[in-house]
Every structure is written in structure tokens, then in C-alpha cells.
């Protein structure tokens, strides 16, 4: 006797909703960008002219080369700073490990372009660090140009490599290294033949993040790049140029950017797949105690890295409290900068909070449900959804912003100029964080827990609410805070989509820096820093209490 198939339940509806959201907010805008890249601006006829121009003009080829250079350089810098820091702090006794980790995380979450602009104040043409050292005959290089970009990227992005690699170093079974030693491998050979291959997946994941974020970053090269143009600044300028933009060419530059990103992501996945390391943790590595000069040397390395990376935040906070008269700094301290932002741009502050919180509310609800779908209702469709949700990781904010302008500038979806369009782009760009976060905590919750509730007579809805959801809560809150941090600091896509009424703090900071209004920029940045720092602190507290509760 055959039975009718199960009726479509609530999760089928969630799946349909998720597909609709991804189609409208992700696929459609990007399809628009792609279409624009192969169309003639005036006639709309299909053409490959734009691609021919990009590959034919030295100007654009140089942009591509510069983009690859800063992405590879930023990645290399992040690895060179992150891996040693991870190795030293996991394998040797370093005083103040918690402080080091905290400073690294703060560097990670501080608004991205703050680094660029704080370094201008230190190493710009009139920067105090250069000025201080000049009488001593030391001429520091100027921050403007490729050197500055690489410095900012390395110091900003190394925490990704550090955090991922540190947990991998800490999870290597000590017996493996001891086995290598017993087989006669010296320290160097052991490190490169056994230890490094085991942490390769973690290092490469961190390096990949550094690469993709360096490639996509708009604020830093735009503020300190000077004549050194990269693809993301080119795309933005082509689109917003006052002498009539060139949306076709901007789109083509965008497609090239996405393509490079995707190629590198694919390359990393391929490289890691061939090195799946089956880990069984029997005995954790122990931290060794260093003595004398070696200990001093290790401490100096660790602290130089984390202090250099937190320097920009400190400079920004300090600057925000300096006395100013208009844009000009005066000796002494004062609150003029804060008074000015409260008088001139209070809506930028409120907008930032309202937009981010609205986006986070949407993200939490849909992210949790999609995370559940991906882990508990696996199918071909959810697999495709999972893959599609990778896209926001590789699409630069400028590019998706362009896509939104193309997709939503005419009825029935006339959204350009509204607050909604900014909320929606924050939502779709940060949704994957919450999905990943809720999916990963669901993988730690055994499926039998929910079945136990059902077997005890709880309907599936009640079982989810009473058992699964409370257990997911720490993951959901952490995902929400992470989304909030990245949403409130978002610059590039907001810059493409904002109008006067929908100005946000990062946009205002960017414009202030371009205008040389360093005082107000510092005050706004400080507000962002404090907000972000509070959210980070909350994440730490949650993960601590979670470890205590369900160990």
C-alpha cells in the first residue's frame, strides 16, 4: 500500500522564500552587471567591446596588475605576520596571550579604512611620525601609494590568518611531531614536513580571506592610493564620474574582479581538498618555556605586530579628543569634534544604527532558518542554495552596489535613494555569516536531541522552539553580532547607494577624510570603534559562557 508523500511543511516554504530572496537580491543584480558588461551603453546591443578595451588599454591592464599586486601583497603580509604570531603564542609561553588575542581581534573588527586614514596622520606628508623622525635624519617612506596600501592591508588582515592558524596549531596531535622527531627529523624539517602541511588548510583559508578582502577593498586604495589605481576604485570612478559615467565599462571591470576572486577561491578549495587531514586529537601540544634572549625575541615579535596593528585605533581615538577650530587642530584637548558631528550629521549616526539593526533583524530570522535547512533538510536545492550563498564572499561591495543600482532603479522595484535599498544590501551581503554560524552550531547539536523531543510527544514546531532553538541561541547571537559589526562598518556598497538622507557613519568618515576634516572623521570613527568593541566583548562573553554550559 502506497502512502501520499509528506505535505509541504513549513521548511518547504522557508526554502522557497530563501530561493526567492537570493534570486532577487543576488542573482538578479549580478546578472544585470554581467549584462551591462556585454552591452553597448547607448544601443544596448550585445558586444564584447568593453572586454576588448579592458584588455587592450594599458590603463586598465595596469589596474588589473595593481589589484593582483595588492591582493597578493596583502595576503603575503597577512601570512607573514599571522603565522609566526600563531606559532609563537601556541607553542611557547608568551606573557599576556589574552591581551595579544584581544588586540588582534580589535584590529580585525575596527572599521577598515580607519587604518588608512590613521596612517595618513602618522606617515602622511605632514604625519607626526615622519615629522618627529625627520630632525634625526630618518626619512620614513610616505604612506601614499602601494607601500601604504600593503602596510594597511597586512596589519588589518593578519588576524584572520592568526586566529585560524592558531587554532590549527593548537589542535595538532602532539604525537605526530614526536613521531617525526623519533624518526630523526630535526626542528626545521619537522616544521616544514609535518607541522606546516597539517595546518595548511587553516593557513590557506586565512590567506584566501586576506586575498579576497584585499582585492575587494575600496576605502584604503581610494584614500591613500593616490595615482595607484586598482580595479575597485576604477569601477567606482567609472560609475560615478561627473563627466557622465560609463556603466558598461564599470560593469566589465566588476566582472573581471569577481572572476579573479572566484578563480582564487576555486584554487584554494582544490588545493585543500587534496590535503584533507583526518585529525584525531589525542594529546594537545604543550607550550614550551623560552629563556633569555630567545624569550625576549619572541615577545618582541608578538608585541610589535599587535601594537602596530592597534596603533591606528589609538591614534583615531586620541585625535578625536584634540582641540579643533574648524578643520584645523589646535594645541590641547576638547570635544569640538563631537559637538560638530552632533550638530552637522546626527542622522549619519542614527542611520548607521537603524540600518544595521534592521538588516541584522532580517539576517537573524532568515539566517537561522536557512542554517537549519542546510543542515537538517539536505537536498539538491539546499546544496545549490549553500553554494549560492558563497557569492557575497567573493563579490566586492562596490560591484554589488552597482548591481543594485542597475536592478532597482525602475518600477516595479524603484528602490534607489531609499533607506530600504541600503538595508537590503547590508542584509544580503552579511546573510552568509549568520547562515554559516547557525549551520555550524547545528552540526554540533545532535539530530537525536530533536527526535527525542518529538518521541516524547512534542510537535515538530514545539520541538524546534523548546529544544533546538535554545541550543542554537549562542550561535545565533554570535552570528548576529558578527553581522552587526560588519554591517555598521560597511563603506563600499553604501557609498554607491547613499543619498544625502541615507548617509551613514562610514560614508561620512570617508567624505570627511577626503575633505581633510580629520577631527570629525576621528570622532565618528571613535563612535564606530566603541560600538564595535562592545559587540566583540559581548561575543567573547557568550562563547565563554557557552563553553562552561554545554562542555
Amino acid at each position: 500500500m502506497m502512502r501520499a508523500r509528506r505535505l509541504p511543511d513549513i521548511w518547504t516554504l522557508v526554502l522557497l522564500l530563501a530561493i526567492a530572496v537570493v534570486a532577487v537580491l543576488l542573482i538578479w543584480p549580478l546578472a544585470g552587471v554581467f549584462l551591462a558588461s556585454i552591452s553597448d551603453n547607448e544601443t544596448g546591443a550585445l558586444t564584447l567591446d568593453n572586454y576588448a578595451r579592458i584588455l587592450g588599454y594599458p590603463y586598465y591592464l595596469r589596474g588589473l596588475r595593481n589589484s593582483l599586486m595588492v591582493a597578493l601583497g596583502g595576503m603575503a603580509g597577512a601570512v607573514l605576520l599571522g603565522v609566526p604570531l600563531a606559532y609563537l603564542t601556541t607553542r611557547y609561553v608568551i606573557l599576556g596571550r589574552d591581551l595579544i588575542a584581544t588586540l588582534a581581534v580589535l584590529a580585525l573588527v575596527s572599521p577598515p579604512f580607519i587604518g588608512a586614514y590613521a596612517w595618513i596622520m602618522m606617515l602622511g606628508n605632514n604625519g607626526w611620525m615622519r615629522a618627529a623622525l625627520r630632525p634625526l635624519g630618518i626619512e620614513l617612506p610616505s604612506i601614499y601609494g602601494v607601500f601604504g596600501i600593503l602596510l594597511v592591508f597586512s596589519l588589518k588582515l593578519y588576524p584572520f590568518v592568526f586566529l585560524l592558524t592558531a587554532s590549527a596549531f593548537g589542535a595538532i596531535n602532539r604525537s605526530l611531531e614526536e613521531a617525526a622527531e623519533s624518526l630523526g627529523a630535526g626542528a626545521t624539517r619537522r616544521f616544514f614536513r609535518v607541522t606546516m602541511p597539517l595546518v595548511f588548510p587553516a593557513v590557506s583559508s586565512g590567506a584566501l580571506l586576506a586575498f579576497v578582502l584585499s582585492l575587494a577593498d575600496f576605502g584604503t586604495p581610494s584614500i591613500i592610493g593616490g595615482d595607484f589605481r586598482v580595479l575597485s576604485t576604477m569601477a567606482y570612478n567609472l560609475f560615478t564620474s561627473e563627466m557622465g559615467g560609463n556603466p558598461g565599462l564599470a560593469s566589465t571591470v566588476s566582472i573581471v574582479l569577481i572572476t579573479v576572486s572566484m578563480l582564487v577561491v576555486g584554487l584554494q578549495r582544490w588545493a585543500v581538498r587534496r590535503r584533507q587531514v583526518a585529525g584525531s586529537l589525542v594529546s594537545r601540544p604543550e607550550r614550551q618555556r623560552l629563556h633569555g634572549l630567545r624569550s625576549l625575541f619572541a615577545h618582541v615579535i608578538c608585541y610589535v605586530i599587535v601594537i602596530a596593528s592597534s596603533l591606528p585605533s589609538l591614534v583615531v581615538i586620541y585625535t578625536s579628543f584634540r582641540k579643533t577650530s574648524g578643520p584645523v587642530f589646535q594645541p590641547g584637548f576638547g570635544l569640538e569634534s563631537y559637538r560638530r558631528i552632533l550638530a552637522d550629521v546626527p542622522h549619519a549616526i542614527t542611520n548607521s544604527f537603524i540600518f544595521s539593526l534592521a538588516a541584522v533583524a532580517l539576517i537573524v530570522v532568515l539566517g537561522t532558518l536557512i542554517g537549519y535547512l542546510l543542515t537538517r533538510r539536505e537536498s539538491v536545492l539546499t546544496g545549490a542554495l549553500d553554494g549560492t550563498l558563497m557569492i557575497p564572499y567573493v563579490v566586492p561591495g562596490v560591484v554589488l552596489g552597482l548591481g543594485f543600482v542597475v536592478a532597482f532603479n525602475q518600477p516595479p522595484l524603484l528602490l534607489t535613494g531609499t533607506a530600504l535599498i541600503i538595508i537590503l544590501i547590508l542584509f544580503i551581503r552579511r546573510l552568509p555569516y549568520a547562515v554559516r554560524s547557525s549551520a555550524s552550531i547545528l552540526r554540533q547539536i545532535k539530530g537525536s536531541i530533536e527526535e527525542a523531543a518529538i518521541s516524547l510527544g512534542a510537535a515538530p514546531g514545539r520541538a524546534f522552539l523548546k529544544v533546538t532553538l535554545p541550543l542554537m541561541m549562542p550561535g545565533i547571537v554570535a552570528g548576529a553580532l558578527l553581522s552587526f559589526i560588519t554591517a555598521i562598518n560597511e563603506l563600499s556598497s553604501s557609498l554607491v547607494l547613499y543619498v544625502g538622507r541615507t548617509m551613514t557613519m562610514p560614508v561620512r568618515i570617508y567624505l570627511s577624510v577626503l575633505d581633510g576634516e580629520f577631527g570629525t572623521a576621528a570622532a565618528l570613527s571613535t563612535i564606530l570603534l566603541v560600538t564595535t568593541g562592545t559587540a566583540v566583548f559581548a561575543i567573547f562573553r557568550i562563547s565563554e559562557s557557552r563553553e562552561n554550559a554545554f562542555a
Partner: protein, 353 residues
């Protein structure tokens, strides 16, 4: 407490037949065990009864009523899980009370029944603890109390002991057995551990590759394995393939057909006995290859002239007997203990016993 009837249950995953026309009937109050190696379909069958899987075809009746249309939460079952599945965010009491709350019992009744259930599993003092403060064995006791407190029609247990260490496993299986007896709940128990199945069950259903091979009491399963698979899976067994001619002749004379394979348990082979005890015995000459001494008993590995190796279990071996490695011995096989199987792997004369 109810009769459970499974009628022609079939379930496929792609081309793999997880359950192939399984029919069986479980008596009211019975401790019924599904036994088999991993992948045999026993867990799939249990989860089908629970309602977590839907069978492709076939029918399940509990107390005479068909339950196929009921979702899992309305089937009135209690389930105990391999990984305990204790709710980590609730106290022990909260866990045990969960099913009663779903059934909208009154507060006073809940407190009373939870107290009694915790007493039964000997966790009375730990009611306010969180699960992470309990050992694995204690967590499974919570799982047990939680499933029994709702007084379900059927109690389902999915390898409840396999995550525990050996000593605890034996202790808890006795407890499970005693509780089930005293409460009289119809119980379906899944395990791959044949010894555990023999100890706890009223009846055992041995499964292999989605099919039922034998249903019977532990005695029947052990003494008269209905198929070659059951013979090899439950307990230790010498399978003579091909059997010695002397054995074949004796069985042919009795049953009128030639066996393909003949089984005999190590404890049913006698070592080095000169005299013929009855008229039914068969003698085989062999050579002792190896002796494994294990305290109360020793296992002899003896190879015969036609190339077969037999294991012989000797109780309370003497020092003299243990010095026989490398020497020739005489084995005595009692005809009554021989298990002859036909070319389809079925026990010859099974219907006679």
C-alpha cells in the same frame, strides 16, 4: 503495553533495499530485540516504528490500530537513543518532565511521576543537576527515565548501551531488563551485540541485509540457528565447509539429504576422548596448532586431515592438556549437536526440532 504488528514493511534508499518485506508480530509486554550487523536494517526498522522514517510500503499496527498516518510525536512511543540525546539545557528533572508537559499533565502529577521515575533509575539525588555534570551512564539513565515516565505504548531503544564502557554496559543492561519486567512495557530493542541480545531478550529477531533471518527465543537462536548467517553471527561457531565425509553420511542417513555446510559450536566438540559415549558420536583425527588459555577455559585450534580448522573449547583445562600444542588429538562430535545447512544456507530439519 500493546501488541505491535509489522506487515510486509519495505523501504529502499535508491537501489539499496534497507528493509525487504519485513513482517513480524511483537507480543504485549514482550522484550523484543532486533539483532544484526551494522547496515542490516534494524535501526531503519526501529525508526520506521517510531515514525522518523516512512516505509515505502507495508503497514504498522499497534494494539490493532494502524499508525502509519500518525506523525512521530503522536505515536505514543518512548525512545532511548544511542547518544543519550539528553537535552543539555535542561536539568535532569526538566528532561524527565518534558514528555509529561507535552501531554499537558498537571504540575502536581508531573512532580510526582518525575520523582518516581528518577527513583526507578536511581537518580533521585541528581534531579537538579545539568546533564554535563553527569557521567555517560547517568545520562543514559536520564534518557531511560524520560522515555518510561510517559508510560508509552511501546518503548524503543536504539543501541542504548553501545557508547558505554564494558562494565557499565553489563550493569545497565541488567537494570533495563529488570525495569522492563516490572513495568511490563512492550519494548523493541536494537543492538549489534549478540551477547547483550541473548541476555536481555524474550525473543530476538536476527536481521541481515534488510531481511529477517530468524525470530525466536534466545535459546532457539543460539541452539538452532535457522540460517548459515545466524549460525555465524550469534556466538562462536565452527563451520565445516566442506564437511568431513563421516559427518555427511550420518546426516544424510538421518535427514535424507546431503548438507552443504555443517556447523558445530566449540563447546560441543570434545577433545581427546577415547571412549564412545553413545552410539551417535563421530570421531575425527587432528593436530593441535595453537592453544589460547583464557583462565576458566582454553581454546584449541585443531586442523584435521582434510584441511579444516576447528576451534574446541575446553573448560577448566589441566596443565597436562595445555602442553599438547603440536601433538595429534582425537575430536569427538556428538551428532545431536551438528547443525547441517543446505545449499541455500537453511538449517536442514529445522521444522523437526
Amino acid at each position: 503495553m500493546a501488541v505491535v504488528e509489522l506487515d510486509d514493511i519495505t523501504k529502499s534508499y535508491g537501489t539499496l533495499k534497507a528493509l525487504d518485506a519485513v513482517s513480524l508480530s511483537i507480543r504485549s509486554g514482550e522484550f523484543f530485540t532486533l539483532l544484526g550487523p551494522s547496515g542490516c536494517g534494524k535501526t531503519t526498522l526501529l525508526r520506521t516504528v517510531a515514525g522518523f522514517n516512512r516505509q515505502d510500503s507495508g503497514m504498522i499496527r499497534v494494539a490493532g490500530a494502524e499508525i502509519d498516518h500518525l506523525p512521530a510525536h503522536r505515536r505514543d512511543i518512548g525512545m532511548v537513543f544511542q547518544d543519550y540525546a539528553v537535552f543539555p539545557h535542561m536539568t535532569v528533572e526538566g528532561n524527565v518532565a518534558f514528555g509529561l508537559e507535552s501531554r499537558r499533565c498537571g504540575r502536581k502529577e508531573i512532580a510526582e511521576r518525575v520523582g518516581r521515575a528518577l527513583e526507578l533509575v536511581r537518580l533521585t539525588d541528581l534531579g537538579a543537576r545539568m546533564p554535563h555534570q553527569l557521567s555517560g551512564g547517568q545520562q543514559q539513565r536520564v534518557g531511560l527515565a524520560r522515555a518510561m515516565v510517559i508510560n508509552p505504548q511501546i518503548l524503543l531503544m536504539d543501541e542504548p548501551l553501545s557508547n558505554l564502557d564494558a562494565k557499565l554496559r553489563i550493569e545497565l543492561r541488567e537494570d533495563i531488563r529488570d525495569l522492563q519486567r516490572s513495568l511490563g512495557i512492550t519494548t523493541v530493542y536494537v543492538t549489534h551485540d549478540q551477547e547483550e541480545a541473548l541476555v536481555v531478550s524474550d525473543r530476538i529477531c536476527v536481521m541481515h541485509a534488510g531481511e529477517v533471518h530468524q525470530i525466536g527465543t534466545p535459546w532457539e537462536i543460539y541452539k538452532r540457528p535457522a540460517t548459515l548467517f545466524v549460525a555465524g553471527f550469534v556466538g562462536a561457531m565452527n563451520l565445516l565447509d566442506p564437511p568431513p565425509e563421516a559427518v555427511v553420511e550420518r546426516i544424510e542417513a538421518r535427514h535424507g539429504c546431503r548438507p552443504e555446510v555443517v556447523g558445530i559450536r566449540p563447546e560441543d566438540v570434545a577433545l581427546d576422548v577415547a571412549e564412545d559415549a553413545g552410539g551417535d558420536d563421530i570421531f575425527i583425527e587432528g593436530m593441535v596448532d595453537k592453544i589460547s588459555f583464557a583462565g576458566p577455559e582454553a581454546l584449541y585450534f585443531v586442523s584435521t586431515a582434510d584441511g579444516a580448522t576447528l576451534q574446541v573449547q575446553v573448560h577448566r583445562p589441566t596443565a597436562d592438556l595445555l602442553g599438547r600444542a603440536g601433538q595429534s588429538v582425537r575430536l569427538r562430535l556428538s551428532e545431536a549437536q551438528l547443525l547441517p545447512y543446505d545449499d541455500r544456507g537453511r538449517l536442514i530439519g529445522a521444522d523437526l526440532s
